[in-house]
């Protein structure tokens, strides 16, 4: 068994990052190193990397993310240490995880947010066959499709603040029909990031990851030329057009050639409404983090 745990610890350490204010660029550069692997979901992680000071409003979501990581798990907090020191601490935490043991316990009680107990004589709680909130769990209700008016199920859910496909800190309340966004409101604005998060290589890498190119994205982050085929062409033309900054494909082209993009304040809900989920995530990744923050700070979006 000794040899098995040593074999396991030679795998790249699976890290789920919870990125706080000002630390997006640091974390993205750290996780593109070999020996570390950015997990796309807490279920795929063993180590929770908490970078920076997470505001109190995000404490409860952070605890939920922590509890979603399978055991044994270890939390590594990144204050102001050098990246090399943090990489070494993560490697040590991964060896600890591979050696077995209990790891950290849950931060929140392991019970459903609502009891499996309804209202009424049969406990069903809902109204009729659809909609309502039976057992405290919101059910989909039909509504007109925003493209052709066909009556389809609508489902409302909150995404963020640590969703890996969204800017850190951003919380969106999204009403979906399938994966088409019918309605979207910004619940919490993203954490402020310094200008280094707008660096062309990091911005290009975020889009490349959504295009399924994790390897080329890591190369771009390391300052090398990303070796990918059809990188610009895979982004649909006309997606996420913003005054003065072209569409998502134009912005990716400029980032890939190393030119920074400055976008005026985009209207985020208007850009995302009617888009499919994958298009919406590409649109968000195609805007510099500073532009998204400014857009969410304007009174219309709040």
């Amino acid at each position: 068994m000794m040899s098995l745990s040593r074999l396991m610890s030679r795998a790249p350490a699976p890290v789920f990052p919870a990125i706080g204010p000002g630390r997006q660029a640091d974390v993205e550069r750290l996780l593109s190193r070999s020996g570390l692997r950015a997990a796309a979901t807490p279920r795929d992680a063993a180590i929770l990397l908490v970078a920076g000071d997470i505001p109190g409003t995000a404490a409860a979501p952070l605890a939920r993310v922590h509890d979603q990581i399978p055991r044994p798990r270890v939390t590594v907090s990144w204050g102001h240490d050098e990246p090399d020191a943090i990489a070494a601490r993560i490697a040590e935490a991964w060896r600890e995880v591979c050696a077995g043991g209990e790891g950290e316990g849950d931060r929140l009680p392991d019970e459903p947010p609502n009891k499996w107990k309804g209202v009424g004589p049969n406990g069903q709680g809902g109204k009729g066959m659809m909609g309502g909130v039976p057992y405290g769990r919101p059910m989909a209700m039909t509504g007109p499709d925003i493209r052709d008016g066909l009556q389809l199920d609508r489902y409302t859910a909150r995404f963020g603040p640590f969703a890996p496909m969204l800017p850190p800190g951003l919380v969106l309340e999204v009403t979906l029909q399938g994966d088409v966004i019918c309605d979207v409101t910004v619940e919490t604005q993203p954490f402020a990031q310094p200008a280094d998060a707008d660096a062309p290589d990091l911005c290009a890498a975020r889009m490349l990851r959504l295009l399924g190119l994790a390897g080329p994205a890591d190369r771009a982050t390391a300052g090398k030329k990303p070796r990918g085929v059809w990188m610009r062409g895979a982004v649909p033309g006309g997606l996420g057009s913003v005054d003065g900054a072209g569409d998502a494909r134009d912005r990716l082209s400029r980032w890939l050639s190393g030119t920074p993009v400055t976008a005026s304040v985009p209207d985020i809900p208007a850009l995302l409404k009617g888009a499919e989920w994958s298009e919406a995530m590409l649109i968000l990744a195609s805007l510099p983090p500073s532009a998204i923050l400014r857009a969410c700070q304007t009174p219309e979006a709040a």
Binding site: L4, L7, M8, S9, R10, A11, P12, P14, R37, A40, T41, R43, D44, A46, Q68, P70, R71, P72, C98, G100, P112, Y155, A157, A163, P164, M165, L176, G178, D179, L208, R209, L210, L211, G212, L213, A214, G215, P216, R227, G228, V229, W230, M231, G233, A234, V235, P236, E276, W277, S278, E279, M281, L282
Partner: protein, 286 residues
Amino acid sequence: MIVLLALVVLGTLLVGTLFAAMLDRSHLSIVAFFARQRVETEAPDRLNRDLAPAWYLTLAGAGLSVVPFAPGLALIDSPVGIVIWGSCEALVIVTVFLHGWSPNAPFPLIGAYRYAAIGLPVMLPSMFVLIAAALPAESLSLIAIVESQREIWNVIRQPLGLPLFLIVALAMTLRGPMDYADAADIATGTSAEASGAGRALWQTARLAMLVSVSAIAATVFLGGPLGPLLPGPVWLWLKTAALMALIVLLGNRIARTTPSRMMWILWVVLLPLSFLHLLISGLVAL
């Protein structure tokens, strides 16, 4: 003989999966995840959650069982080998859907529906490409298709066949440009809630399917076990390994477009292209 062939099929699947994991550089991660906790979601479909990776592995094995390892020698010598493989392809869509359905969570379900929507138009060109390969052999048996390539391989006789089939292979193994089930924008989609051994088993099954689909491609387009000097199985293994490396490389390098645009490409470009391929192959075979 049957026992020997069954052992060869199992051995190929095992060694091939290991080789695929090395190509993918995911072997250590998979080992590490077999030992980790498997987390329950709220009210999952437990039966299908456990069955989905098992089905995926079984389909990889079933697909490989019709592949001839030497001229005239397959574990299942079926007169309709191509059809057996075709049904494996179709059932992969059902399996991936069940994998996304079972955890009872939004991202896996979005991935499941996306894959089902993309899967249908991927299966259609696949069938036309495989039927085109059966035309010169005048048989649906994979053994006959190998025999028909004694003089010239199908990859040369039907130049569009292998490229079209590689797209199918990427979709069946959830890779790169065709990985609509487990994409990054939905936090690895159908696998978003999979953890521990369940996650590791799903990844293993995905790699096993890579072996199977590559072996079929090697049989249908590269003459399978045919080749000079070396024995038949060795030629099949070499060709399969080369195709596996090619599929992994394509998956790592080619960007994935949005699902709705891929739907357009599949229905409007690739489906007519596969019709054309079938027509040309039919005329050549006359």
